[in-house]
Every structure is written in C-alpha cells, then in structure tokens.
C-alpha cells in the first residue's frame, strides 16, 4: 500500500464517527467578521496607510507624477546608491533624474550579483491600509521576488488611491493566487531576542514608500 493510500485510509477511518455533512462550504463557515474596519473614505484610507507604514518604520513620502523623478533620485542619493535594480515594465520616467546606474532584472543574474546592487525601485500590486502592507505580485514594474529582497534598500511606489484597499479581505480579492506574491509590512524585523521587535535582518533594512497621487492620471495597469 502506498503511503498516500495509507494516509487517506487513516483519515477516513478517523472520521468514521463524524456524521455525514454535505453543507456547501460557502454555508459551512459563518463570515460575520467585518470586511474592513472603519469607514471607506479614500483620503482617510490613504492617510491610514501612511500612518501604519510609518508605525513599522517604513519611510513614507508623498508626491505627484511631476515630482516623482526628483523624489526617487533624492531617495537613492540619500542612501548613497550607486546602482539600482530596475524591474521590467517600470515607467522609465521614474528613474529619469536618478544618478545611480540602472541594472535590469534578468533571469540569469545570480544572487551574488544582486547582492552587489545597492537599491531597487518597484511599484506594487496593492497596498493594505489597516496593516501597512505592500503586496507585490511580479507584475509590470515589480520584478522577480528576489530583487526586493537582496538589495538593502527598497523604494516602493504606490499609486494612491487606486492601489490602496482598507483591509486584508479586500486585498485578497484583488490578488491572483497563481502569481508569486510577497506581502511586505515595513523593513525586515525580528522578535527573536527577548520577544522584542528589532528592525533590520535579512531583507532590505531600509524601505521608502512613495505614495504617488495619480488622481487625474490614467488608472494603473492591471497586473498581467
């Protein structure tokens, strides 16, 4: 007997005492919890995102499309970045003013090569206000998961309010589980020493989040 059959057989025997229940799953679990906590006003949701990001030690900046290139250049310069990884599909205008050498995200680049690059600039798929979370799904302007991991400085641009949702349930609705997803809430941290939080371990120790007001601009491209 294969272990597959053995385990499935044990499960079925273990449940022999349980009365049969064909309730459809949608009805089996009461979802009486809230879809979001608090009101839905876009301005306040963005303000909450900014506050929650800052709470976990991300540096939050606001700008509009005209001011973005200067801001990105300044953020890179402030970290002394000589090189920056650029994911495919990133708006070239974002880095137009940056002095750092742009290095494209290529499948063949090794982790060691990535380790020599100072910063990375990306967009995101969605941002969650309540938890101060950015979610990247590898779509245009986001790149492979490792490029936002190995360099020590991450600049993440969030289009507000279009990419901002209030809550975790709202975020999951927008995401495609087939894509590789990374949820980022502040710079890397640990609670392993005396159960107290310390920021900065293996992931980027510096996280700059740019809230890009695009109220009149075109809607963000949906993740491909």
């Amino acid at each position: 007997m294969s272990s597959r059959d053995r385990i499935l057989g044990r499960v079925r025997r273990a449940l022999a005492d349980v009365p049969r229940d064909d309730t459809p799953y949608e009805q089996a679990v009461p979802r009486t919890y809230l879809r979001r906590h608090g009101d839905t006003d876009a301005g306040r949701t963005v303000a909450l995102l900014a506050a929650r990001l800052a709470d976990y030690r991300a540096d939050v900046h606001r700008t509009d499309p005209a001011g973005l290139p200067e801001l990105v250049a300044r953020l890179l310069a402030a970290r002394g970045a000589d090189s920056v990884v650029v994911p495919a599909g990133l708006d070239p205008g974002w880095l137009a003013a940056a002095a750092a050498t742009a290095v494209p995200d290529r499948p063949e680049s090794t982790p060691r090569e990535l380790d020599r690059i100072d910063s990375v600039v990306t967009g995101c798929a969605v941002a969650v206000a309540e938890t101060g979370t950015l979610v990247l799904d590898g779509g245009p302007g986001q790149g492979r998961r490792r490029i936002t991991l190995v360099p020590d400085h991450h600049v993440c641009v969030v289009r507000v309010p279009a990419q901002v949702v209030s809550s975790v349930p709202e975020a999951l609705e927008r995401l495609d589980p087939a894509r590789p997803l990374t949820w980022i809430s502040g710079p890397s941290a640990t609670s392993d020493i005396e159960l107290d939080r310390v920021e900065g371990v293996h992931g980027p120790r510096a996280l700059d989040v740019v809230l890009l007001a695009d109220g009149d601009g075109p809607p963000p491209e949906p993740a491909a």
Binding site: V29, A178, S185
Partner: protein, 512 residues
C-alpha cells in the same frame, strides 16, 4: 513502521524537569521578561479589531470543516500543486518524510540546504536525519540559529531561543559562529540590533550559495495549491526564492479550503503571534513559475506529513488540537510555561498546546508524555487567547482520563485499548474511595468528625506524598465542627434559615 518521532530522545516527566527550571533564576527572569513583554502587546493588537470574536469563530469553523473533509482536501491539494508544476509526496511518519527529503536533496547533487524555521521539520528531526546522510542543514531563522549554534534545544514555538537573553546570545555568537562559517564581528555587543547584524552577515553567504531550500508552511490552499509562509526576518524569502530546488514539509492539518480563507488567518495569526498587525514578510507561491517568468525555484516538492496527525484526528475530543496554527499565544500567557520553561515539555511543541499535541502525536507511553496532560493548573488563559478556540483545558482533562483510566485510542491508524497508567494505582484507589465516601453523606460526616477531633494533633508538615503540599505551604487548620454539624445544631436537619426582616437583625449567627 517506526515510532512517531518528535525530534528528541527520552525525557524525564514534566514535574522533574520543571523542578530544575523553577530553581534557575536566570531562566525564570528571561522567560518572565519575554512572555510579559509579548502579553501586553498581543492584548493591544487584538483589541484593535472589534470583530476579533467573529474572526476567531470563523477560524475555528474553517479548520473544523477542513478536518472533517480532510481526505477530499488532501486530494485537492495534490491535484492543484501537481497542476502548478510541483511534485507531491506522502509521508506516513517521520522516518518516511526524512527519507524522502534526503533522497530529493541527494538527487540535486548538493550536500547542504538552507532552512526556513519549520515546526514540522523539527518534529521529524530532519536536520539530524540529513546529517546522517552527509547533508548539512543550516537553520536561518535567528532564534533557530541561536539554538543550532549553541547545540541547544528549542523551548518556544515562535522564538525557540526564548530561554536565552541577549548576553547569552552574544556569547554563543562569539564562540560558535566561526565554526559554521563567517565568524562574529570583533567586539560584538549584546545590543539586539548588533546581534541581528551579526546573523545577517553570517547567513548571507549561505543564502547566496544555496541551491536547495527546505521549509514548512503556515497554510496550504486546497483550491489553488498555494503555499503560504509567514515570517519576519526575510530568511524565509531567501530560502523560498533564491535556491533552485524547494522542498516543503507540511503537516496534513495545514490545509485551508479556499483562497478567501486566508483573510481570516492573515488577520489572526500575526496579532496572536508577534503581536503585529502584520508580520514583515509573507510569501505565497503556487507550484513553480514558467521559464519566462523564472521567479524562484525551478523545482518544487511538497511532502505531506502524517506522523500521528491521523491518530489525533480519530479522537473526537482531542482532534481540535489539529486546528492549531502555531501562533504560540498560549505559551506566552501560560503561568506554568512561564515558570517551567519550554524544555520541561520534552518536545518541540512546548506549553499548553504542546501538552495536548505531544501526547496525541506520540502517544502517552513515555514518562514525559504521560505527565504532560497534568502540566497545567487548568486556569484557562490558553483557551481565552487561542485564535482558533482550541479548548486546551478540555483536551488536557480528556488526556488525563486516557492516562488514568486507559481506554480506546488510535496508534498508527489502528485502534488500541490502553491500560491505565501504572503510576496512577494509588491515586485511582484514592479517587474511588473518595467517590465512595462522597456518595454517602454519613461517611463524609464521620470523616469530618474524626478530622475535627484529631485537629490538635495536626502536624505542620506531612510525610510521604503529602510533602508535595507541605514543602511550600502550611496546612489549613481543621475546624472543631464542620458546617453540617453546626447547621444541624442550629436549624436541624432539613431546617431552613429564615430571612430576617429589615437590616441589622442577625439571628443566623452562631451564638448558641
């Protein structure tokens, strides 16, 4: 088939191990500081969500539903992961799981792996099994690194090195890091930020050269085949994305049916665990990506682990332990854990959840497993904070019954009838005698009178087993007359103490 293995050799019974821990002032201080720090933070993080009770109930129901239809969901996981480019393996016990993982690593030609913190791989003793095959496993979670470098044992689910303070961690880093790779920086201080930096430097070279990663998973979504790993440091992301091959060993109880179900647990787990609104990093992946996307490992293996879980599932009271999402909130609030420490539980699963999980996964035959159900004052703080509402006191009492009275249980898929534990014969006789007396009020009254008459002879300390009480506590004074004799004297058997009109009157007092 081998015995279920939880990664550790035989251990003394809980009270014996706890005695040493209680007397260790440094350990007591470390545990007290850490658990009290996180307790207050958790309470604050939970209080932020007005719908916590509803989230908790939904979490409980999702897990119960999944367990009730686990065969169906296991097959669904297998189909979805396979369709997404992964390979699924089934392991009935620890030995089989270790053999599968070792074989997969050997097939890559590599002799080292980087590991994400995983309870399942600790439970099966994977590192030791790989070592025996000439494969070195590097733990990359900071606390796991501390434990591995210090040749120590984990003592907490979330923070395996919780029993170590910053000074002790610095000493371990200074003396041991060099033997495993990059040595600790000169002049390393005990500042947590400096310690974290030392770990970053030490591990980075291992991440960058790693070709094989090994992980567990917090959740597996049946409908999509998606695995979820929740972490803080980024070591998880390193292990999950940089290597060419990823092997995930996952207990069969980690399944949730739908993508949407994550909306419950991604709210309850971080707040219960590290007391954060959201942990710094969560990775979700579904099989492998195509050559064009080329994001992450090209090969993905999922090892579905039983190792006593189906035996636990067979117990109608005990199966709720399989709802556990390993948040460790129950450890952090437990007054027994705080004083006894994690090692006393003799398992990679310490604390209240360990006290109900280990004796079910491993059975109650060993000294430590037979003692774990009693390692609780039944105060109920664990149940109160559990984000999936596991009634730990209920299961503890149920397992006490299994130890004391014996009865039917399932071991390795077969029903067995357990005999009452040998060490409990005197207790059993005493319980029976007490029940006999207490179902006869006259016998109770006789006993009370004898005690009342002998009260002047009452010693301050008791001999024999009574010393367990009197070593630290005086005995209560026995009154001259039990209440029932007083009542009979004042009101007569079957009499009534009548309500007294107006305040102040007080005929009920014993003045006669």
């Amino acid at each position: 088939m081998s015995e279920t293995f939880l990664g550790m050799p035989s251990f003394p019974a809980f009270p014996v191990a706890a005695r040493a821990a209680v007397q260790d002032g440094t350990l007591r201080g470390n545990l007290r500081h850490a658990t009290h720090t996180i307790r207050a933070k958790r309470a604050k993080a939970v209080a932020e969500l007005p719908d916590w009770a509803e989230l908790r109930e939904a979490g409980r129901r999702i897990k119960d539903h999944t367990l009730r239809h686990l065969d169906r969901y296991l097959v669904q996981v297998e189909e979805a992961v396979t369709a997404a480019g992964g390979t699924v393996h089934w392991a009935a016990d620890a030995t089989e799981a270790n053999r599968i993982v070792a074989g997969l690593v050997r097939a890559t030609g590599e002799s080292e792996v980087v590991k994400v913190k995983s309870m399942a791989t600790q439970e099966i003793g994977l590192n030791e099994a790989l070592e025996a095959e000439g494969i070195r496993a590097y733990e990359t979670d900071l606390a796991e690194l501390i434990v591995q470098l210090g040749r120590d044992r984990p003592s907490h689910i979330l923070v395996p090195a919780i029993h170590r303070n910053r000074g002790e961690i610095r000493d371990v880093f200074r003396s041991e890091m060099g033997r495993w790779g990059r040595a600790a920086p000169d002049g390393l201080t005990d500042e947590p930020a400096d310690l974290a930096e030392a770990a970053r430097l030490h591990l980075r070279e291992k991440f960058l050269r790693a070709r094989v990663g090994v992980s567990g998973a917090n959740f597996v979504v049946a409908e999509t085949g998606t695995l979820v790993v929740v972490e803080s440091e980024g070591n998880g992301r390193m292990c999950l994305t940089l290597p060419e091959t990823l092997i995930s060993v996952v207990g069969i109880e980690k399944i949730v049916p739908t993508w949407r179900d994550l909306e419950v647990f991604l709210q309850t787990l971080p707040r219960s665990s590290t007391a954060e609104r959201m942990n710094p990093y969560t990775s979700m992946w579904t099989g492998t990506t195509d050559a064009e996307t080329a994001d992450g490992p090209r090969e993905f293996h999922l090892v579905l682990l039983d190792n006593g879980r189906t035996d636990t599932l067979a117990d109608e009271v005990g199966r709720q332990a399989l709802r556990c999402i390993r948040c460790s909130a129950c450890l952090n609030v437990c007054p027994v854990y705080e004083r006894a420490g994690g090692h006393a539980y003799g398992s990679v699963y310490p604390g209240p959840i360990g006290a109900i999980l280990s004796p079910q996964l491993r059975g109650t035959a060993s000294a430590v497993d037979a003692s774990l159900p009693y390692a609780s004052s039944l105060c109920g703080a664990c149940y109160e904070v559990c984000p999936v509402a596991i009634d730990i006191p209920e299961v503890l009492v149920h397992l006490r019954e299994r130890v004391a009275e014996g009865g039917r249980a399932t071991r390795e898929g077969s029903t067995v009838v357990l005999r009452p534990a040998r060490g409990h014969a005197v207790e059993r006789a005493a319980m029976r005698a007490a029940r006999w007396a207490l179902t006869r009020p006259a016998a109770l009254r006789t006993g009370q009178r004898i005690a009342g008459r002998a009260r002047r002879l009452q010693p301050r300390s008791l001999p024999g087993p009574g010393r367990a009480w009197s070593a630290s506590r005086d005995l209560p004074a026995v009154p001259a007359e039990p209440f029932r004799d007083w009542w009979r004297r004042i009101y007569g058997a079957g009499g009534t103490a009548a309500a007294r009109p107006g305040p102040g009157g007080d005929t009920g007092k014993d003045t006669r």
